[in-house]
């Protein structure tokens, strides 16, 4: 099980940027091959957040609590706009995640003590020493600077206490911890910089474990200093190469942009051969070392829109259309494209269902004035139905298990200018429609201003796509990676229906299509889910409860 940010660090430190198989250990202590990834080199974090959910462990793993949740979302929009530019936003950010600390830290600890890996591992699991990580405070943040530690070494902190102020590329944010404990070791002091996901401090659960944490910190730093010397073949399989936590002093001369690029792509600049004037390292050298081909601005023929269907790993490039215009993907569009191609690996099937919506329409007319939209009603209906059919809310992550989600988080596809996002209504089953509607308005606004935080668009467990407002009567959707099912909703249209007594009448009918991952969700599951959903839609009073 590999956390994306963890992976980012490991891959980032590679200079070839090609294929790699990860062997890491899960929280249970067994070994597992991680997914093999094609790492194209110039993959930005932005992309990562959009596309990583299929790699990530379930966001709401029982012990994770690693969900950044920004309290600033509760502020009024005006206030938030201002504060996002100016000062300390209070951020409840991610911090501690045991499943993360286990794969990384013992791996390094073992470097220091290769003799006794097993014993050490057990100790770690029981002792609950958690690493505090550099959180990703914005979608474009690749590294953060520690402005100050509000908690010092030895301080006891409680869940929710701010422990550190981090300067991202956008603002300074107070970062809070989600766990009680003692700040045992500060790994990156104030003023230091660390890439997103790198450990910046260790949190011990009790006094006794402080010493243990210190030892581990020492091992960590030793492991790092030893890293350049290769002979560690005896060490346990696959110790991940550590990422540089703080920027290292460069011996060679490198230009300012070269240094920036090196940091961004995690290239050790000392190892780059400079080809610039007087042997200096230039931006081009760093890009070459990171395996990036320079984007050609004038020549037009980079990949055309994804007309290519078929799971061929190398993307076929069609000849350019004569006389046409080629417009490169934006980051968001590239992420959409990647996700769509990725989805071809999943065996999906589709089930359709038509339902009468007269009552739903009537309900909508009633609550419309309170800002509740049809989409919100459908989200709520889907959420209620999902609680009764948890498998439809589950996902398949490794091809051999069901991953059930504790929460019903419904992503809703939103068309944006030149893109597509799925802001997520978390806990849609628990909130009432008015609260949902309110939350939805905030999310929509943020989405349009491109201010969604990663957790607000990638924590979905089920997705709803509604094209009813365009008059579409039916369509089907592509299953997003990391989810079990997606629902495509068409418009309600007056239709002549015959009831069981043979009487004809005109009712509003809506066609709903669900696409699901057949590895975990079978035809009958989906049919039953749709039946429940249809019942709710046809008798929607339950939605207002």
């Amino acid at each position: 099980m590999v956390h994306p940010s963890d992976k980012l660090r490991r891959f980032g430190s590679r200079s070839d940027g090609r294929k790699r198989c990860q062997v890491v250990r899960t929280i249970n202590g067994d070994w597992r091959h991680g997914p093999t990834l094609q790492w194209a080199g110039r993959l930005h974090l932005t992309l990562w957040f959009v596309s990583h959910s299929h790699l990530a462990p379930p966001r709401r793993a029982p012990d994770s609590a690693a969900q950044p949740a920004f309290s600033s979302t509760q502020r009024s929009p005006e206030r938030r706009v201002i504060s996002s530019v100016i000062v300390h936003q209070c951020a409840m950010a991610s911090l501690i995640s045991p499943y993360l600390s286990v794969p990384t830290a013992p791996g390094r600890a073992r470097l220091a003590a290769p003799g006794a890996p097993r014993r050490r591992r057990m100790a770690v699991v029981r002792a609950k020493i958690r690493e505090i990580f550099m959180p990703a405070l914005s979608s474009t943040m690749t590294e953060g600077k520690i402005v100050s530690w509000t908690a010092a070494e030895g301080d006891r902190v409680a869940k929710g206490d701010p422990v550190v102020v981090v300067e991202s590329d956008k603002a300074d944010m107070d970062v809070e911890t989600f766990h009680d404990g003692i700040v045992a070791v500060v790994l990156v002091p104030a003023g230091g910089t660390a890439p997103v996901g790198a450990p910046i401090a260790l949190l011990a659960e009790s006094e006794e474990e402080v010493a243990l944490a210190r030892a581990r910190a020492q091992a960590l730093s030793q492991g790092q200093s030893k890293e350049p010397s290769p002979p560690h073949a005896t060490a346990a399989p696959g110790p991940p190469p550590p990422a540089p936590v703080a920027p290292q002093a460069t011996k060679g001369i490198a230009t300012p942009y070269a240094k920036k690029l090196a940091k961004q792509h995690r290239v050790d600049i000392a190892g780059v051969v400079g080809t610039g004037p007087h042997g200096r390292v230039t931006a081009a050298d760093v890009e070459a070392a990171a395996g990036i081909k320079h984007k050609q601005k004038v020549a037009p023929p980079p990949p055309p829109p994804p007309a290519a269907v078929g799971p061929a790993p190398p993307m076929p490039v069609l000849p350019p259309v004569p006389g046409g215009t080629v417009v490169l993907f934006t980051t968001m569009q590239a992420a959409v494209s990647r996700n769509m191609v990725e989805s071809l690996r999943v065996p999906t099937f589709r089930v359709g269902y038509s339902m009468i919506t007269d009552k739903l329409d009537a309900l909508y007319e009633k609550v419309k004035s309170k800002g509740v939209t049809k989409t919100v009603l459908l989200v709520k209906a889907a959420a209620v139905a999902l609680t009764q059919h948890p498998v439809v809310n589950a996902s398949c992550r490794d091809g051999k298990s069901f991953s059930y989600n504790n929460n019903v988080n419904i992503g809703v596809a939103v068309a944006l200018e030149g893109g597509l996002l799925t802001p997520v209504l978390e806990d849609a089953d628990k909130l009432d429609i008015y609260l949902l509607a309110q939350k939805w308005r905030v999310l929509l606004k943020k989405a349009r201003m491109k201010q969604l935080q990663p957790n607000e668009y990638n924590s979905g467990t089920f997705t709803l796509s509604n094209l009813g407002m365009f008059g579409v009567n039916k369509f089907d959707a592509i299953l997003p990676a990391g989810q079990g099912a997606i629902m495509a909703v068409g418009a309600s249209r007056p239709t002549v229906v015959a009831d069981k007594d043979g009487f004809f009448s005109i009712k509003s009918e809506m066609l709903v299509n669900v696409t699901a991952d057949h590895r975990i969700i079978y035809g009958a599951d989906l049919a039953a889910f749709l039946q429940t959903f249809a019942k709710i839609v046809e008798d929607p009073e339950i939605l207002t409860l």
Binding site: E78, V81, I82, S84, V85, I86, D169, K170, I253, T255, P256, Y257, K259, K260, G276, P277, H278, R280, A283, K297, V298, V327, T330, G418
Partner: protein
């Protein structure tokens, strides 16, 4: 151009005074013109012309250069100004308007640093830089629906634009003085004794003239710390940089003040990479710390710029014999050698030194301090014993009070006011400053730390409010939402202590605040002034409206400040 502006200002001032009067006549008890206090209009700094009759005098004076006042007392001139920069020019125009017979002595070119080697050509380069930035910002362009393919530039074309602008402004300046009848005397001016100046240039006999009053306005030259060898090609100052003879791949800029920051904007827009060398621990040390921090986020971090702070450039060797420019950095405190940079070029932007050599100050017992001419608050030159030297003034960079072109001009006008028998003290805290990066930075009054220090000393409270460009319609329409405005004020009196702006057209926005400070307008008054919608000026409008005052009875004794009165 300036002269017409002056006349029209006087005319409108007169008109509005008239308006204020009739207003006052109709409404006894409160002279208020849209929230601006009536007294403001009689403020000394606005007393350019007091009555229509006076205007006529000024016009007559313009034609004859002081024929009305004459040059009584046997002096050749009422006023001789040494140095025809922006300061001298401003003083000369105002002197003519006041009816003084005026001459200006210039040893180099009219316009001085600002027009020839400073503000003016740099604005031309920055205009290019701003456009390049926009065209290169694909994301920005795309978000506005624009498509541009591979924008480029022609270095010589850019350089010519700067040079043409300088010559145009220079001829405007010269013509404006000639048209008013100011005598432009060519040569290097020297004070030979009380009210006596000699001037001359090589190959010509020196001439001596007498003047009732003398203004020194000789300005400044780029300051080059010792150890730095200037060759004008690879190691140079702003004087050379403005000619834009080359665009190096990598340039180190020593000093991160206004000049350094503006040049970093130009060079990075033209494709250079920049390394800042700053002796203090923070970049942009002169700015309000909060603004500096945000500026770093907007103007430094996302660009191809890195920096070394807390270091001196101990030694800089120009590129020669196939070697790059070498910059030895030493720790600013310990003086230990830290690092040697190898770059393609180095721009020395470590400030400016007064140009006061050869002025003959020793003839009148005046000793400069680090080159600056010591003056009192009325710009009167002080001699070595601390006494005022009668009839001798010094304005602009040469006195070092506030080294800005418009400050020099304001000081010159202040001096002319005094010469014309109206006491005048310039409030330097009302003089705005601007840095023309993209986006721009501007400020007036105190920075937050300065205000807090003053508040501690004098025992009052300080409040701060801020507004964001992100909330401004016009800024968002331009897709330029980066920026804030910050107001520092006294919550007890509503006095504006300082305003700092970082954002689109900040330099043009600051004047509302600087005028308010100059006129003593308080927050509670200016908040009722109306701003056109949608404009960037609403950033300041919101700022003033956001400022809350301490409720105190009788603080605002005039209930007539209600907006409906306007």
């Amino acid at each position: 151009m300036q002269s017409t502006a002056a006349v029209s200002v006087s005319a409108s001032a007169t008109a509005s005074r008239g308006g204020a009067r009739s207003e006052a006549a109709r409404r006894p008890g409160g002279v208020r013109v849209c929230g601006l206090r009536g007294e403001a209009l009689t403020c000394p700094s606005l007393r350019i012309s007091q009555a229509p009759a006076r205007l006529a005098v000024a016009r007559a004076a313009a034609a004859t250069n002081g024929a009305v006042a004459g040059s009584g007392g046997g002096f050749d001139y009422d006023l001789v100004i040494i140095g025809a920069g922006v300061g001298g020019h401003g003083a000369a125009l105002h002197a003519v308007e006041e009816g003084l017979k005026t001459a200006i002595i210039e040893g180099d070119v009219v316009g001085g640093t600002c027009v020839n080697r400073g503000c003016v050509p740099s604005k031309a380069l920055l205009a290019v830089s701003g456009r390049m930035r926009e065209l290169h910002d694909e994301h920005h362009m795309k978000s506005m629906g624009l498509q541009v393919s591979s924008p480029g530039y022609d270095r010589q074309g850019v350089a010519d634009h700067a040079n043409n602008l300088a010559s145009k402004i220079r001829s405007n300046l010269t013509n404006s003085m000639k048209a008013l009848g100011v005598d432009i005397l060519t040569g290097v001016g020297t004070i030979v004794g009380k009210q006596k100046v000699r001037y001359g240039k090589a190959g010509f006999p020196d001439k001596e003239i007498t003047a009732r009053n003398i203004i020194i306005a000789t300005g400044s030259v780029p300051f080059v710390p010792k150890g730095i060898e200037i060759d004008g090609k690879t190691v140079f100052t702003s004087d050379h940089a403005l000619k834009l003879e080359s665009v190096p791949d990598w340039i180190a800029i020593v000093g991160s003040g206004y000049i350094g920051l503006e040049f970093s904007d130009v060079y990075t827009a033209l494709g250079s990479e920049v390394t800042f060398v700053e002796a203090l621990d923070q970049l942009m040390p002169g700015f309000d710390p909060e603004i500096a921090k945000l500026a770093q986020r907007v103007l430094i971090n996302p660009r191809k710029i890195d920096y070394h702070t807390g270091v001196f450039a101990n030694k800089i060797t120009p590129a020669k014999d196939g070697k790059p420019v070498l910059i030895e950095l030493i720790d600013a405190k310990t003086k230990e050698h830290k690092e040697t940079l190898e770059v393609d070029a180095a721009l020395i932007a470590t400030g400016r030194a007064p140009f006061t050599k050869g002025l003959g100050l020793e003839n009148i017992n005046v000793v400069t301090q680090r080159g600056f001419v010591p003056v009192d608050e009325r710009m009167r030159v002080m001699d070595a014993d601390g006494n005022v030297v009668p009839n001798l003034y010094c304005i602009g960079d040469a006195n070092g009070k506030l080294m800005l072109a418009h400050a020099a001009s304001a000081q010159g006008i202040s001096v002319v006011e005094q010469i014309s028998g109206k006491d005048h003290i310039l409030n330097h805290l009302s003089i705005p400053a601007a840095c023309f990066t993209h986006p721009e930075i501007s400020m007036v009054g105190l920075t937050e730390p300065q205000a807090r220090e003053k508040a501690d000393k004098e025992g009052f409270e300080v409040n701060i409010v801020k507004t964001s460009f992100k909330a401004n319609t016009k800024a968002l329409a331009e897709n330029e939402g980066d920026g804030i405005a910050k107001l520092i004020y006294r919550p007890d009196t509503g006095e504006i202590l300082g305003v700092h702006i970082l954002g689109l057209h900040a330099a043009d926005l600051i004047h509302e605040a600087s005028n308010a400070i100059a006129l003593g307008t308080r927050v509670q008054d200016i908040k009722f002034a109306v701003h056109a919608h949608p404009t960037l000026s609403e950033v300041l409008d919101e700022l003033f409206k956001a400022a809350k005052l301490q409720p105190r009875e009788g603080r605002d004794s005039k209930p007539s400040s209600h907006p409906n009165r306007c």
